[in-house]
């Protein structure tokens, strides 16, 4: 499976099919059992932790809610660029301001994270990821626990980030959202990658119907992306 520069690729599939596992493995948060993941032509293991943090950012689904202002959270996105003194320079502050502007949280920069609504908090976290200034962003179910209006706000924001040049790989549960907002969709089932297609092709192929209705054993010939080396 390849991720193309500048695209929004969505991982879709039933619960427990390994979407989040793949996402975390790609962000080097889980050890690989087999196979290999390459980032910009280099093996993932060859990157130091800081180097990797400058190339790819992961926003996990579950996380704590620290009692800090939004601006400080966004500033944490600059952590890979800070020196030993951990003091942000002018460039860091500019990036933080840009990120807050882009994510629409500039007017709540002094508010405590705990006082924000779920949607606002998600935007603040996305601003942190933007401030990290990586080409590649991994998002694990960025719209979970949000009402439908906020879900669209977040998805629009993700689209805006993509237009700014970010490559986005995300896990989405809502197929309608996945079909609307992705350039390509990777369909997975039981740890296997079934197809990577554009939304229209995928919709016409009827594969989604098969995957989400049928839960039987898999047929042969499909590549197991987690447990077998890619051919």
């Amino acid at each position: 499976m390849d991720v193309k520069k500048g695209e929004i690729l969505t991982l879709a599939g039933p619960n427990g099919c390994g979407k989040s596992t793949l996402l975390k493995a790609a962000a080097r948060q889980l050890p690989l059992m087999a196979g290999e993941i390459m980032l910009f032509g280099r093996k993932l293991d060859d990157f130091s932790q800081k180097e990797l943090a400058k190339q790819a950012a992961l926003l996990p689904q579950s996380r704590g809610i620290p009692g800090i202002p939004v601006e400080q959270l966004v500033l944490h996105g600059r952590f890979p660029y800070l020196g030993l003194s951990r003091r942000p320079g002018r460039e860091d502050k500019e990036k933080v301001a840009e990120a807050m502007e882009l994510a629409g949280v500039a007017d709540m920069r002094h508010r405590d994270l705990r006082s924000l609504s779920g949607g606002e908090r998600q935007k603040a976290y996305l601003a942190m990821v933007v401030a990290q200034d990586t080409d590649l962003i991994f998002l694990d179910e960025p719209t979970t626990y949000l009402d439908i209006g906020k879900q669209f706000e977040i998805l629009e924001l993700i689209r805006r980030l993509n237009r700014e040049g970010k490559t986005i790989v995300m896990v989405l549960h809502d197929l309608a959202h996945a079909l609307t907002y992705s350039h390509r969709i990777a369909v997975m089932e039981k740890g296997c990658l079934l197809a990577v297609q554009q939304p229209e092709e995928l919709f016409k192929s009827g594969l989604l119907n098969d995957v989400f209705r049928r839960r039987g054993p898999l047929g042969g010939g499909r590549k197991n992306i987690l447990f077998h080396a890619p051919s």
Binding site: Q29, A53, A57, G64, P69, H76, R86, H110, Q132
Partner: protein, 323 residues
């Protein structure tokens, strides 16, 4: 800038409280000591003078011991609560109290005449137990919850060991009861010095790495995604925390409660930024220990230990209702 002003105000306020608590501690005790007497005694420099001797060999070590122990335990608690993301965590969750208590009793039982070995044994026990708990947790995945579980399990085993020693050697461990409750009475400069050096090192390290503690508080996955080597940094913080708490219990006994309550009070006023929480915890921990000790020592003689325990339960109850 608003938060910067708030932080400066908090720190200045706590420094004033510390100054007040130091005076309270220096001038309360079993014999009265006025400022005038003390001034004259210090100016005369007569080493045989009673006031001079009381001040130099009883009050000053006791006050310094309360400052160092309070600051160390509170900062240790603040670090552990942040690293484990657990509000109920305190130095005893990483085995500091049980390790120190067990080794202190073991030393007292094996060598009843060598009382000087007890603080050293307590320190070694605290540090060794927390490292063992970390190694155990690391072996099983090094997540925060395995660390808490390993801590609870190992602490229970060591507590059972403490009970066994108490039953088998009741005569040898009778002197260690004071140690188990915790007290600043009878602390000497000789016992305090090496521990104080370690505490200063621990406090400086805690302040230097307080920003990293903020990033770690975002959760392990986000911290790793931001380029932090989470396992290494978490280990570093556990070592700093056990160094601080181990040094404190080596001369003050098992005063674990400061490490639980004070960080909560600090976070209530200072927010979630550990760059402010850590210095606030150090100052408030010192104030807390000084005031408890002075009240127990000066006004509820000889019930200082009980007073501290009473304070503990009161503070625990009131903090539960606050948070």
């Amino acid at each position: 800038m608003r938060s910067w002003h708030k932080g400066a105000f908090l720190l200045i306020l706590l420094l004033c409280c510390l100054a007040g608590a130091v005076c309270l501690s220096l001038f309360t005790g079993s014999s009265s000591l006025s400022l005038g007497e003390l001034y004259h005694a210090l100016q005369a420099g007569d080493k045989t003078d009673t006031t001079y001797r009381i001040f130099l060999y009883v009050r000053l070590p006791r006050t310094l011991a309360a400052i160092f122990a309070g600051a160390a335990l509170a900062v240790s608690g603040a670090i552990i609560q942040a690293v484990l993301n657990n509000s109920l965590a305190s130095p005893n969750i990483i085995g500091v109290n049980s390790g120190a208590g067990f080794c202190a009793l073991l030393a007292a039982s094996l060598a009843p005449t060598a009382w000087a070995a007890v603080p050293l044994a307590a320190f070694v026990g605290a540090l060794a137990t927390s490292l063992f708990i970390y190694a155990l947790a690391a072996k099983t995945g090094a997540s925060r919850i395995t660390l808490v579980l390993a801590g609870v399990a190992v602490s229970s085993i060591l507590s059972a060991g403490i009970d066994v020693l108490t039953i088998l050697f009741p005569d040898d461990v009778v002197g260690a009861t004071g140690f188990m409750v915790g007290s600043f009475a009878g602390v000497t400069m000789t016992a305090l010095k090496p521990a104080a050096v370690l505490i200063v090192i621990g406090l400086v390290l805690a302040l230097v790495f307080s920003y990293d503690l903020n990033v770690l508080s975002l959760g392990e996955e986000i911290a790793a995604s931001l380029g932090m080597r989470v396992a290494v940094v978490r280990f570093l913080f556990i070592v700093i925390a056990s160094l601080l708490a181990g040094s404190a219990v080596s001369f003050a006994g098992l005063l674990g409660f400061i490490g639980l309550i004070v960080p909560h009070i600090c976070r209530r006023f200072a927010g979630g930024d550990n760059r402010l929480v850590i210095p606030c915890a150090a100052l408030l921990g010192a104030v807390f220990a000084l005031v408890c000790d002075a009240l127990g020592n000066g006004y509820l003689r000889p019930l200082n230990c009980l007073w501290v325990s009473y304070w503990h339960s009161w503070a625990a109850r009131s903090s539960c209702s606050c948070f």
